[in-house]
Symmetry: none
Subunit: 144 residues, 2 copies
């Protein structure tokens, strides 16, 4: 389970450090430190999947009719941009330019746990999202 929110800096080479607690989860629960990083189609951020969760997503997609418009769109945006990354010895991965652009990642990067996956945001986009999520919640009473 990925939980918690961490801010790490991307360096000039485009590398970001995966927060240590997330690396622990990858190793302990998935015993495989590599992740699949891709666009999140619903928000301007990236989403990282452990190998196993990514396979689950893939099989869900292939269960759908392949000529469906939304399935095609999903394949183009999410699946095509997906790439597998193995962190280096320091626990960093290199985010390619196209994904960096998509999430407007520059330096401060927020890693937000989301149970089976985790999200990667630019810090200013994260702050904006957080503010709007909070105001949304304050109106709707969710009784959690």
């Amino acid at each position: 389970m990925f939980q918690g929110e961490y801010t790490n800096n991307m360096d000039d080479k485009g590398r970001v450090n995966i927060p240590a607690p997330f690396r622990d989860v990858l190793l302990k629960n998935y015993d495989d430190s590599s992740i699949v990083v891709t666009r999140d189609p619903y928000a301007p951020c990236l989403r990282a999947y452990p190998q196993r969760e990514w396979k689950r997503l893939l099989s869900k997609v292939s269960a759908r009719p392949s000529n469906d418009r939304t399935v095609i769109a999903f394949k183009r945006t999410v699946i095509s941009s997906a790439q597998e990354y193995a962190p280096d010895k320091q626990g960093r991965v290199l985010i390619p330019q196209n994904l960096r652009d998509y999430a407007s990642l520059s330096k401060g990067s927020v890693f937000a746990g989301s149970l089976d996956t985790f999200e990667i945001w630019d810090v200013s986009a994260w702050d904006a999202q957080l503010a709007s999520s909070l105001s949304l919640l304050q109106d709707m009473d969710l009784d959690f």
Copy 2:
């Protein structure tokens, strides 16, 4: 059951002491002194869950449709920021910067029991909240 109101000081390192009565409850009723601390979406304070209560919340959330706007907002604000903390030998936990910011915690911190969970407030925010809660109650007669 967490009850009572206690004020403790956060030190320069960002550590706060969990009031001893709360630690007792954790050990006696949950036999696990670790807690999950996260944002409270409805007020500028933090909320601490014993492990078991946190799991209950998680299962309530995952029972909801995962594409619901408010559920997504809840995940981002509450679940993402949630982190598990085991108190040190003195009974303190380190509150990370993002949560400190959210609740404007600086030094004087109020721990307020809330039955299954407890809240952590900055002392001035607590005072303000208390005043407005009181005036709200004086208008509505709840016959407790």
